[in-house]
């Protein structure tokens, strides 16, 4: 049985053209590769300190 209220919560307002630029700036572009690179760099720095 479909619960209308619950289903309605799953719908969200779509981005309009005027909001696209702000959304673009707000977008987090950090990926796993960044994290891996960060981790590798940190590990390298620790090695050099030791």
């Amino acid at each position: 049985m479909i619960n209308f209220e619950e289903e309605l919560k799953k719908f969200h307002l779509s981005l309009e053209i005027e909001e696209a630029e702000d959304a673009l700036y707000r977008k987090r572009l950090t990926d796993i590769a960044d994290l891996v690179v960060e981790l590798v760099k940190e590990a390298k720095e620790e090695e050099s300190e030791n």
């Binding site: 969200h12 779509s14 053209i17 673009l24 990926d31 590798v40």
Partner: protein, 479 residues
């Protein structure tokens, strides 16, 4: 694949041959992202757009620089009606790789057609408005808005789904099913659409065939094959765990019932028109007729009032006419002013012709009504009359006196009175005429008239012998 540290091309080694940095984990991550991209591409090829979006997002979470994945994700968003999200992906992609990037072509294509972009944006705005209506409980408005959205952008999956949900809410199952089927044509494995379809089929009694999107038709076929004709009058089929036996003539009965229902419906319709619409129409016509009648009545009242007014005016005019007629008669008729004037003119004419013809002149003057010689009459008229009277009065008086006296002596008192009255009229100083007149009355035993004339003699000639004689006679006749 390039080294994240120096940008040099990587080899099969777990480290960069140029800068020596460990790239083992980095390679794993990039490899995993490629796997997701491939999965997304495969799903997109079979129009499993939801699955493709999930895989491509995973790909980009692992490797944000995966330009192909980002371009494909934008394309899928665009196909699902999410134009702005598509633009976002393509703009990022274009920034990551400015040359030899198909995202640039996509962006140019959209920018060169501003009408299309405006339509996309308008559709998005209307969708947001519809969603707001839903939150506010104005579901009818939301449905109208969503229909507009879909007329502008028929591939807008979210709009189709929301419209389907609204139809489900209003229990318009067929419409909901149509919307869901449209979604499934765009996105064959849309989980929400499949759930809605399952709900619709459950309600419509088709739930046994719904185990997955594409399986329903096959299951229906299988169910149809299970139909078994068990006799001439009935057949049976399997529905879940139940065996249903249905008589063959059920459809026929149904159609007969339908015809009866239509006939009854028509009869009821005619009855409703007869009992509800017709009386209202008659009432309306009556009201119009009454209104007309009232207007005519008002006009009649106005006309009746006008007639009364005119009648009273006619009466007044008739009275005025009568008065004027009377006045005219007074002037023109017998004894009227005009007649008196005529006599006076004749007398004048006669006097001018023959001044000695006193008898004829006197005859005309006698005919003049004494009432017309009052102060109301014209001064010229009175002046002329007096002038003629002075000219002929004395002779006339003498003539009348002689006639009167003779009649008196002959005891013809009637004639005597008549002639003597004229004599005193034309000569008021004739004492004998007065005395003979009074005596004539007395001898005729008209004592009142006699006393009146005796009184006049006493008044006009006081202290004279005549007055004494008059007094003596007066004393005799008065008690």
């Amino acid at each position: 694949m390039r080294c994240f540290n120096c940008g040099c091309n990587l080899t099969e080694q777990d480290f960069c041959t140029n800068c020596g940095v460990d790239v083992n984990n980095y390679k794993l991550v990039v490899s995993a992202s490629n796997i997701y991209y491939n999965d997304g591409l495969e799903r997109a090829k079979v129009r499993d757009l939801t699955g493709a979006v999930i895989s491509l997002r995973q790909c980009l979470k692992l490797n944000k620089n995966h330009v192909d994945a980002r371009n494909l994700l934008g394309l899928i968003y665009f196909e699902m009606g999410e134009g702005v999200q598509a633009l976002n992906e393509w703009v990022i992609s274009k920034n990551l790789r400015s040359k030899k990037n198909i995202a640039g072509d996509y962006l140019n294509l959209i920018q060169s057609n501003p009408g299309k972009l405006d339509a996309l944006n308008a559709a998005i705005k209307k969708f947001n408005q519809a969603l707001t209506y839903c939150y506010q409980g104005s579901l009818d408005l939301a449905v109208i808005q969503l229909k507009k959205v879909l007329s502008m952008n028929p591939s807008y999956v979210q709009a189709h789904l929301l419209l389907a949900l609204l139809y489900l809410k209003s229990e318009e199952w067929t419409k909901a099913k149509k919307e869901v089927e449209k979604v499934l044509k765009i996105d064959t494995n849309n989980i929400t659409a499949l759930r809605y379809l399952q709900e619709v089929k459950r309600v419509l009694g088709e739930d046994e065939g719904v185990k997955g999107g594409g399986k329903s038709r096959n299951t229906a076929k299988a169910a149809a094959e299970k139909l078994t004709k068990i006799s001439e009058e009935s057949f049976q089929y399997q529905s879940g765990n139940e065996t249903i036996i249905q008589p063959l003539n059920a459809m026929e009965k149904k159609s007969v019932h339908s015809i009866w229902n239509i006939v009854i419906g028509i009869v009821l319709g005619i009855a409703a028109a007869w009992f509800l619409i017709l009386p209202a129409k008659i009432q309306n016509e009556k009201a119009v007729a009454n209104d007309e009648l009232r207007k005519v009545g008002e006009q009649l009242d106005v006309k009746a009032a006008t007639i009364n007014e005119l009648e009273s005016k006619v009466k007044i005019l008739e009275k005025e006419t009568q008065n004027l007629q009377g006045q005219l008669e007074g002037f023109v008729g017998s004894g009227g002013t005009m007649e008196d004037v005529e006599y006076l003119l004749q007398a004048t004419s006669q006097f001018l012709e023959d001044p000695t013809a006193t008898e004829e002149i006197a005859g005309f003057l006698e005919k003049i009504n004494p009432a017309s010689l009052t102060e109301n009459s014209s001064p010229s008229f009175r002046g002329l009359y007096q002038l003629l009277l002075e000219q002929v009065g004395a002779e006339m008086a003498s003539s009348f006196y002689e006639e009167g006296r003779k009649a008196y002596q002959n005891n013809d008192f009637e004639i005597a009175v008549e002639q003597l009255k004229k004599a005193v009229t034309y000569d008021p100083k004739n004492q004998d005429a007065y005395l003979n007149l009074a005596n004539s009355y007395r001898k005729m035993e008209k004592l009142t008239e006699a006393a009146e004339v005796y009184g006049k003699i006493i008044e006009l000639f006081p202290g004279t012998d005549l007055a004494n004689r008059a007094q003596s006679y007066l004393n005799e006749i008065t008690p």
